[in-house]
Amino acid sequence: MIKKDIIEKIEGEADVVFTKKNGVVDDIDLIFPYSRGIESILEGREYRDALVIAPRVCGICSHSHLIAAVNAIEDGFRKANIAFELTEKARCIRDFALSCELIQNHIKWLYLVILPELYKINRLEIPGDLIKKASKITYAITKAMAIFTGQWPHASYVVAGGVSCDPSYVEVLQAKALVDEVLEYMHEALFNPKEMSILKDMESVFTLLEKADILSLCMHTENFLALGDTFFSRSGVYKEGILSKIDIEKIEEITRYESKAKDVLYDHEFVEVGPLARALINQDEIVNGIYKEYKSGIWSRIFARIFEGYTLTLKAKEILECMDVSQQSCVLSHHKKSLSFSGIGIVEAARGSLVHEIVIKENRIDTYNIITPSQWNLSRGSVNKKGVARQAVRGARSKEEAYLILRSFDLCSVCTTQ
């Protein structure tokens, strides 16, 4: 029996076709019917235009796309023998803003996606204050970010060689006060910093999962990937418990005619990217402890993501504390002569590894290729070799459970099909 159904929820839409066997979900098919063709819009333009167009790939992770674009350009500069070193300050500001974007994404997902779904699956009324709780943190953290980025979403303060803003200590203090506000809230509602135990809202997640008997729901082949070496995470492959180095050459993108989204594989295999992958590759002790018990189940994924939000908030505070505002904002002057280069920009975005690849010929974008986090997690694959999310939904006892599994990866169709 095949039943076609639709899933559409915060951050985009996609068609899901369920196949059930003996009352449980046997397989799904994910189809992204929608596309704007941003890569082709970028082609032919001056390369610096990528810094304002790329963020518009996605209003949800606009800053990650901005950083991926600038990383690709700067990587290309280096390969073209243009020597420069970003100042510590410029790096700090970019990292701080990226932390803020990840924090707000993680928190919003917890309160606007995961908790409501969990109440629904337990046939309980959804508490009315979830949106308010989400907005408490997201207001404060995006405000802190906008102090340096001008606005969120779609900031454009980043330029090749640095940033355009030149904050004073007053602004740094203003941002710090906002980050402190967020930390205080997290210490009240999510994690107890002294005992490193979970609090109220995280307890609710655990209890609701336990009640619905789905703590370990959603397992796949235990193959994880993180491509970025960043201020908060390392790159690596974590396959069946073994950690190894990455090789960019092993990434393979496959066009699928049925859907606007391309499949993407690493070393011929489908992999999971995102906070859980990052934590395992970072060998984070706390997340590892949970992973040992619940494997790639829903609880591991939720815990890893929210815990990353928390540790990033601590990092964000640290960044502000050691920022030296007297350093230069930008170290590159504009190149008057025509440039040809190619580069790769990698960013660890909220949902996982994001890649921008560019080829520039005489200052114009020749090709622009984007691989987004949701593409990794939601690749379709074939009947014999299924994508990660497709493996994970197998055995779900109801449509609600299958939805919850998909949402634990937090699909973003906006990004995926661009």
Partner: protein, 413 residues
């Protein structure tokens, strides 16, 4: 330099580009006041729809004082270009906004406007938009999904037929018969979906540059043949709130105006509310004094950048862009692009991706500068921007330097 030329340049930059009539005389406002009172009285008598919540209670619970709320109301009154005496009415209108049903749909977009709206300012979003406005249906924000969501939408459309305001985020792709974007199990195209929903709406609000002009999906080579709402919806009041993302203050402003007066705000030729798009960024820019003094940023991170000089030479499109970001700013007014030393990219103007681009001074960007002197209204100015040939605005950069105020090149010489 010829005097005539100097004179015309002077006129160009001294021009009160926006002839938004903010003072229509006592009689007009007295009349409007009575009309608004009547309207609010009617709204109050209506039951709150959907998940309507008492604003006062919510604010109290959240530790907002009445004073904070009134402060917000007076700022909003000013933004809507109404006299200060309207402040209590605006406050009242905010309290009865939950009588106005809102349906919000997303088409070919990036969800950026919803994201911006989620952090609207003033009495925060959860109070003012999700609780106070009765958001009957929002594809991204609502809890229901799939068939359940479709059912909820159908119910809202039926129940509030002729009364709801339809907010549209995203462009409409018309290529391959509209099949670049489809919704729901019936695979309705974005165009049909929009037309069906617009049919029962009291007014349609296009939020963001994609919904207004097609935005980024419509940028060359426009792979999906994308267009804006006003190209599709005919015979209905359409209000455009362009910018990328649209400023939440302006979104809330439009609903407030509708609650207050029962009509759409005064619009310019591009259907943008004049209260928000009546002035150029340049007119109220915090760096304007540096433009007038001929002090420019010449390279990212130079001395000029450190001193917050004018970004015109770095490609700032503020002089050609109508929007109120220089006053309203973003993210609870904490900052805006020019505040972080990045020029305006002109995101509230038509075709800005192709015509304006960025980091290229306008002199090199193949765009025609606006012409016209003091008599030009915002409408004529807006059209002039698209069609008229005139003096390159870049001349001013040279002219103010020649005026001997400051020349950064002198230092090198």
């Amino acid at each position: 330099m010829a005097e005539g030329r100097d004179e015309s340049i002077k006129k160009l930059f001294d021009a009160k580009s926006a002839k938004v009539n903010t003072n229509r005389g006592e009689e007009y406002f007295a009349d409007l006041y009575v009309k608004c009172q009547k309207r609010l009285g009617e709204l109050k008598a209506m039951p709150a729809t959907g998940g309507g919540v008492d604003l006062r209670k919510v604010l109290e619970e959240d530790g907002f004082e009445r004073r904070d709320f009134l402060k917000w109301a007076s700022a909003t009154t000013a933004m809507l270009m109404l006299p200060a005496s309207f402040t209590p009415l605006v406050a009242e209108a905010a309290e009865v906004m939950n009588r106005i049903p809102v349906v919000w749909i997303e088409l070919s977009d990036c969800a950026g406007n919803s994201e911006a709206l989620l952090r609207s300012d003033g009495p925060k979003i959860d109070e003012i938009v999700l609780d106070i406005i009765s958001l009957e249906f929002h594809e991204t924000l609502q809890a229901a999904a799939g068939h359940q969501a479709e059912k909820q939408l159908e119910e809202a459309l039926e129940l509030f037929r002729g009364k709801y305001i339809l907010f549209v985020e995203g462009a409409i792709p018309l290529g391959i018969d509209g099949n670049f974007g489809t919704l729901g199990a019936k695979a309705e195209t974005f165009k049909d979906h929009l037309l069906r929903l617009a049919d029962g709406a009291a007014a349609v609000v296009a939020v963001g540059s994609c919904a207004t002009y097609g935005g980024i999906p419509a940028a060359a080579p426009n792979p999906t043949d994308a267009v804006g709402v006003m190209d599709i919806v005919k015979g209905k009041p359409v209000i455009n709130i362009p910018a990328c993302p649209a400023n939440p203050a302006n979104i809330v402003g439009v609903v407030l105006h509708y609650a207050l007066t029962g009509s759409v705000p005064e619009l310019d030729s591009l259907l943008r509310p004049k209260f928000a798009f009546g002035y150029r960024i340049h007119d109220n820019c915090e760096r304007r004094a540096h433009f007038d003094a001929g002090e420019y940023v010449e390279e990212w991170g130079d001395e000029g950048a450190k001193n917050n000089f004018c970004l015109y030479k770095m490609g700032c499109k503020g002089p050609m862009t109508f929007n109120n970001c220089s006053i309203i700013r973003y993210n609870e007014s904490v900052n805006w692009p020019i505040g972080v030393g990045r020029g305006c990219i002109g995101c509230s103007e038509p075709d800005f991706w192709d015509k304006y681009a960025y980091e290229r001074p306008m002199a090199n960007a193949h765009i025609k500068a606006p012409t016209g002197g003091v008599e030009r209204t915002v409408d004529q100015f807006g059209l002039g921007l698209l069609t008229a040939a005139g003096i390159g605005i870049g001349i001013h950069a040279a002219a103010s330097v020649m005026a001997g105020k400051k020349n950064s090149d002198e230092k090198d010489a």
